[in-house]
Symmetry: D2
Subunit: 301 residues, 4 copies
């Protein structure tokens, strides 16, 4: 028997790249968390301790910052593709790269009803994400883009039920016609190609997820996720597939009858753990194969 | 020599109370994290293990939920005062109580340009806080209110300098005429009394903090904090004092000259640790004494 | 074009199950974080909102607690297998299940040189993990076990170099003959079967990882990981494969020459972000196929 | 009415100072998180934006690293005192300083039954802390030391009751003769002076806290805290006062009777929030006045 290095990747994670555009007094800010990784034939580094093919993670870090200036940032996706292409180009033994970007949103501070030129308030809430996976070199290079968001915290105070479920001898849950439904959504969608208006598509998909959540009746979080996914696929043919990881953040009604008070859906306790965890992928039936688009993507599957 | 129980308080921390108002189809949501504590003559519990004067923390929890219904929630401050008064009333040996509330903000989900009736998106960003300290019973009861916010993340991409500072043999910092100034602000202000429109005052003070940050030139974070405090005190005579804890979240310019590129305030790395930490209190010179208003208030002083 | 539910699983995550054995005065404690998920034909719940095949996540939670008593806990792996088998049995439409367990270690408190019978101190440090994936029903059921640990924080203050690496125009890193090497290791190993003495094997593999880290010279974290993996595979034929995710937790020497002091590997600053991230899998060349053993396993690949 | 700068301090927080002693092959490691702050007459910086008296936080950072070499680290307390004295000396307008240090413990990796010379495993669990507050200059300088620990997670699986408590109309808690008692202890003790063997005293007090927790019957967490404090004060006359902040980490027995199973203290669910929070200070009745020893000390009072 022998041992094989069956997979490896290496890079610099969580480079906190902040790019300010200040060509005119109205500044723009891109606040990014950038992680890069190279894949390929790096067995010599592992097995023989020979680093001659290893572009240091420190260099990958430098590249992330250099490209924020040299290439610039117009979207997380465009920037990530450029960084990934550069890393492969600089690393002869690399067969591929993965660049992950998270973007933190900032709003202009409101002064007298208008957004300030150079003072910003971090928005909080959902974080925009992208994972770009490149494989191959030069003309044969494939570029796969999985974009999404995380920490989109949603709640409906009615319009949600859960009943008619399977029961066994350990089932004690009561059926309910009306409950709070809340989640902290992670969604990732795979684009069919790269001819995409990244920013406007992100905005449209985010808005669609919110609107579907708000406007559809929920017979289970499962149904709500499927509807959210189906609506996105229907409206966006550039999207091949969408995946969700959705904790069911339980809000349990408090028993106030013990104290002579009625609680008709008014007082809840929000709990931390345990939580339901519903995961689902919805795919266009004519979607192109994912290849390595999801390889090493965190949080789901 | 003997030992003395020189201070004690006990209670239930982090009750996650969610109150939905659903009297009409347009629901309202108050999402609170409520911590209560009783103070007083509880030496018997500590020294003798005798619980006869101890209202259980479990009962304090029940009270927090009951009062969300019985008293209702119109503001964190009003609710906290009611809970605190009830706890003292139910606990004959209590000489005082402290009720801390954090409020998480939710926005209505936008559907066709209008906010939805019962579907919400958690805003993220700053959390509204209050710490209500009650001492004494009945007619002699004093109620002190310290409200504020935390995690208000602010950034200016210009309009900030730092120069002319003291130097010693360990000083290597370069002076700068133009830097990014960023912080994650904790602010707490003590009200002079309780005849306050809690919600509108919170809104006005929050807006003032933002506007001062945006519109004043900064020669140091110290100066900016002082200006923020002075502007609040000037506009709000109901505020006796305001305290700040402000990490200087450093954004260092990346040296791109090594790579033949100019970086004129365009590419920064945001660092986590260490960070400057600037703390300051600004007080009205005719402010009433704080008494125990700040006793056991976390995060500052 | 249509849409397909291409993957789904659902369950209850992070059940904090604490099992005390108290058959005699010398108590034993198993402190677990248990997450369960069912997979299978649950399209009706997603697409039609019909819950008739859905065993509630609340029931999965109850099952986790019931089995801590009814089946008992002798190891995370044995317990997880039992819970998974039960969940599939109770869910006719399930084709498989995944049960993830984390175990927090407790030491007996030392009193006069001996461990106390029923008073414990949480050890901190590494968390033992297992992910058990079951597929199929009854006689055809396959059980795959991936065990491991996370948050094993290791540091060598010498015996580590990094040099001879690839350089491009963005490379500024200096070569070093002597550096601190530190990581917070995540390791997961796939067992070839289930006839394993889970606890003693866990102990032996943990000890082997530590010993290899300590006793081998490191020409890169990549080499160290490979050695750790190879040593485990060599000594444990019951292990088919081992995977690592290892942040390179940088400790940079502080430039004290600016202050007339020499720093020969004595004073370092430990940084948070960015960090190198090295991931590798080492596999026995005659290992059985993994099947779905790694499907939806967090943290790596 | 005017506004007054009523308090201020500023410094560099969370410098991650790692000091390796390598004078012989058996290395030693001190892994510290160091926060410094200066107090004094810095109104010019706040009110006028004049930095001439402000020693930059960057210089404070440099000083923390320089002193790890120049002064060295033999204990958190000794090091913190030296750093504080230096900062006051370098800052003519400072009236005082506070230096906070946390120490992360590392064990030597065991190889063949012996601890390795230069390979370490981070212990996890409790973190040792100190807060040194200096006021005044030169001969009049007062040095006050508050040392302690945080995150000491303790659990007793029996030997704890809670009964005979006060009841009101919102009390639903059942009395119990036997429960799990668990906490994540924060303890801070104020030394009466500075003629202390810091390391051995820390070890003795830590051991005493554990032993008292283990060996005394608990009629409430309040009683246990008081006993822990009284035992420390009795054995350590160099300690003037000890304060505790102790969450009651609830472990609720799971109702298995619903499933025909008995649960006699065997299966529990550990909950996150809410939690009881018990805080107490025990003081020697002839203790010297604390002065500013507790000013701005986080976590309690």
């Amino acid at each position: 028997m022998g041992t094989v290095l069956s997979f490896d990747q290496y890079g610099k994670a969580e480079n906190r790249v902040v790019r300010i555009y200040r060509d005119n007094p109205r500044h723009e800010i891109w606040d990014l968390n950038v992680s890069t990784a190279l894949r390929g034939d790096f067995a010599a580094a592992h097995v023989e301790g020979d680093q001659r093919d290893v572009l240091p993670t420190d260099t990958q870090k430098n590249t992330a910052f250099v490209y924020a200036k040299k290439h610039g940032v117009t979207s997380p996706e465009d920037y990530a593709i450029a960084v990934g292409q550069r890393l492969i180009e600089a690393s002869p033994k690399a067969s591929g790269a993965q660049v992950r970007v998270e973007q933190y949103a900032w709003d202009r501070i409101d002064v007298d009803g208008a957004g300030h030129d150079h003072a910003f308030l971090r928005r909080g809430g959902a974080v925009r994400t992208t994972v770009v996976t490149l494989s191959g070199r030069n003309a044969e290079q494939l570029v796969r883009v999985v974009s999404g968001l995380r920490d989109l915290v949603l709640l409906k105070s009615t319009g949600s039920e859960f009943k008619g479920f399977l029961r066994d001898e350990y089932t004690t849950l009561q059926e309910t016609d009306d409950r709070i439904l809340a989640t902290s959504l992670v969604a990732r969608w795979r684009y069919a190609g790269t001819e995409v208006d990244w920013n406007s598509t992100y905005g449209a998909i985010s808005a669609s997820l919110l609107e579907t959540f708000a406007t559809t009746y929920s017979r289970a979080l499962q149904e709500t996720l499927y509807l959210m996914g189906a609506h996105v696929l229907k409206a966006h043919e550039e999207v091949a597939e969408i995946r969700f990881s959705a904790p069911n953040k339980h809000h349990f009604p408090v028993d106030l009858a013990r104290f002579g008070l009625e609680n008709s859906g008014e007082v809840f306790t929000a709990t931390d753990r345990p939580y339901g965890l519903i995961e689902a992928a919805v795919t266009r039936d004519d979607a192109p194969e994912p290849g390595d688009a999801w390889l090493a993507v965190p949080s789901f599957l």
